[in-house]
């Protein structure tokens, strides 16, 4: 029997997840010793027709990174689902929608307008591409841009998740080793730690014993001097470590940056943003509504951007809806 075949594909993502694979460095050679890479458009020359020619389930596993926002991405994701025995959502965008998922806060028209007409980097011609054209009797069509961004498992069935923005090399290597060992975790498993980041955080010991209370929330660029020896939350930075899955090796914390939650929620949490909100709100040290409001306005000017940075498509409310706002007179008895 030949070596197992694996594939990689990217959808709506920045390419950082592809970098994460290259970050394996020498270990990548170990991996290529054991598997055949049969599809990886970013790094190697394969055509879609090569995949189409495969038999169903011919690939052992396919790693898909990126969210789904174009019809093309959906089609290829579905094709790869058929051709692979295991589909692994690789990185935050495939796992929870990721940063592209924040597009769900805007309508499709608004995004187009910003991108082609009103944004800071538009060309002077103001040309907006047509979805379809015919030239010399040949028709060309661009893929459809959906009105909302989805995570991979909202489009196809996903067997495993490798979280992270981008997944760290140790997580990637663990995932590949687990897959090749044949000793597979239960379907739907997230291949990272099952405890919160705080458990592995080097600053955990500096957390106050009598409970966390913070009087002031600050964004990291507003802190003049970040003390790299003390828990970032106690310094007033919005760190989502307490509600985020660990396994990343506390890379951001070691770089004096608070956790933004790219590894997503721990098992059993339905809505990551709501849980993060719940935690941060509970440790604010104030009992006065006006003061609380002030602390929140200063430290968290954009709550959805803070709490749902990577998980908006997987949140309960999924996307923004425009409700008509009218002034309502409230009758009192």
């Amino acid at each position: 029997m030949g070596k197992p075949k694996i594939g990689m594909y990217w959808c709506a993502s920045c390419g950082g997840c592809e970098e994460a694979v290259v970050d394996l460095a020498e270990d990548l050679l170990m991996v290529t010793d054991k598997v055949d890479i049969v599809f990886w458009p970013v790094a190697m020359d394969f055509k879609l027709s090569d995949v189409e020619a495969m038999e169903d389930g011919e690939m052992l596993a396919v790693f898909i990174n990126g969210a789904i926002e174009l019809s093309e991405q959906e089609e290829i994701a579905k094709l790869l689902r058929r051709k692979a025995q295991l589909v692994i959502a690789f990185g935050s965008c495939a796992h929870m929608g990721g940063l592209p998922g924040l597009a769900n806060m805007q309508s499709k028209e608004k995004i187009f307008d910003y991108y082609f007409h009103s944004g800071p980097i538009v060309d002077d011609t103001g040309v907006q591409p047509d979805p379809e054209i015919t030239k010399n009797e040949h028709g060309f069509a661009l893929p459809e841009f959906y009105s909302s961004v989805r995570a991979l498992d909202q489009v196809i069935n996903v067997d495993y998740y490798v979280p992270g923005c981008a997944p760290t090399p140790n997580i990637v290597l663990d995932a590949i080793t687990t897959l090749l060992s044949g000793n597979l975790p239960p379907s739907g498993a997230i291949m990272a730690s099952d405890r919160a980041l705080c458990y592995e955080c080097p600053l955990n010991e500096t957390k106050p014993d009598e409970g966390m209370k913070i009087k002031e929330l600050r964004r990291s660029h507003e802190v003049e001097h970040i003390d790299s020896e003390i828990c970032l939350l106690t310094q007033g930075m919005v760190c989502l470590g307490p509600v985020t899955r660990g396994g990343c090796g506390s890379l951001c914390i070691k770089g004096n940056m608070p956790c933004t939650g790219c590894f997503g929620p721990m098992d059993g949490v339905k809505d990551f943003g709501a849980t993060a909100l719940s935690y941060i709100a509970s440790i604010i040290d104030s009992e006065n509504p006006e003061e609380i409001e002030k602390i929140i306005d200063k430290g968290i000017p954009d709550p959805i951007g803070t709490f749902y940075m990577y998980s908006l498509p997987k949140s309960m409310l999924f996307k923004k809806l425009q409700e008509k706002k009218e002034v309502v007179e409230i009758k009192t008895e």
């Binding site: 579905k78 909100l277 509970s282 009992e287 709550p303």
Partner: protein, 159 residues
Amino acid sequence: MEEKFNPKIIGIFCNWCTYLAADLAGISRMQYAANLRISRVMCSGRVHPEFVLWAFKKGADGVLLGGCHPGDCHYIEGNYKALRRYILLKKVIGQFGIDERRLRLEWISGSEADKLRRVTNEFTETIKSLGPLPNRDDIEVDAFDESELKIVEPEYVTS
């Protein structure tokens, strides 16, 4: 509106104060808007923001949270936690495009059945004037074909 809009309002009340007030209102045969569906939690500090988002997702038109007056919490500071979450949560639902007036927090003690009646009636009026909130599950987002989407046990290779 042709048909009269009858809003669905979810009340999440704390066991020690607001739920008692609702109980008292019932015993005292007080009449108030029947749009309120009450569920009881031990403390308003138990109200996870997920509860509220879930209610809105499932088509509740308004959510009313009830807790003890500041300083009266049976668990000392649960209601302050509720207050802070409420303030932050209001901003989040606003960003999701839900009118912030659809979420309301009130301190109602066990003896204030009359306040409960007043708040419920007031809140129902507010929601009636705001109109119905679309059920998020019914929103047609895109022409995604979800029929193939189910948990399938894959065939594992063992070698």
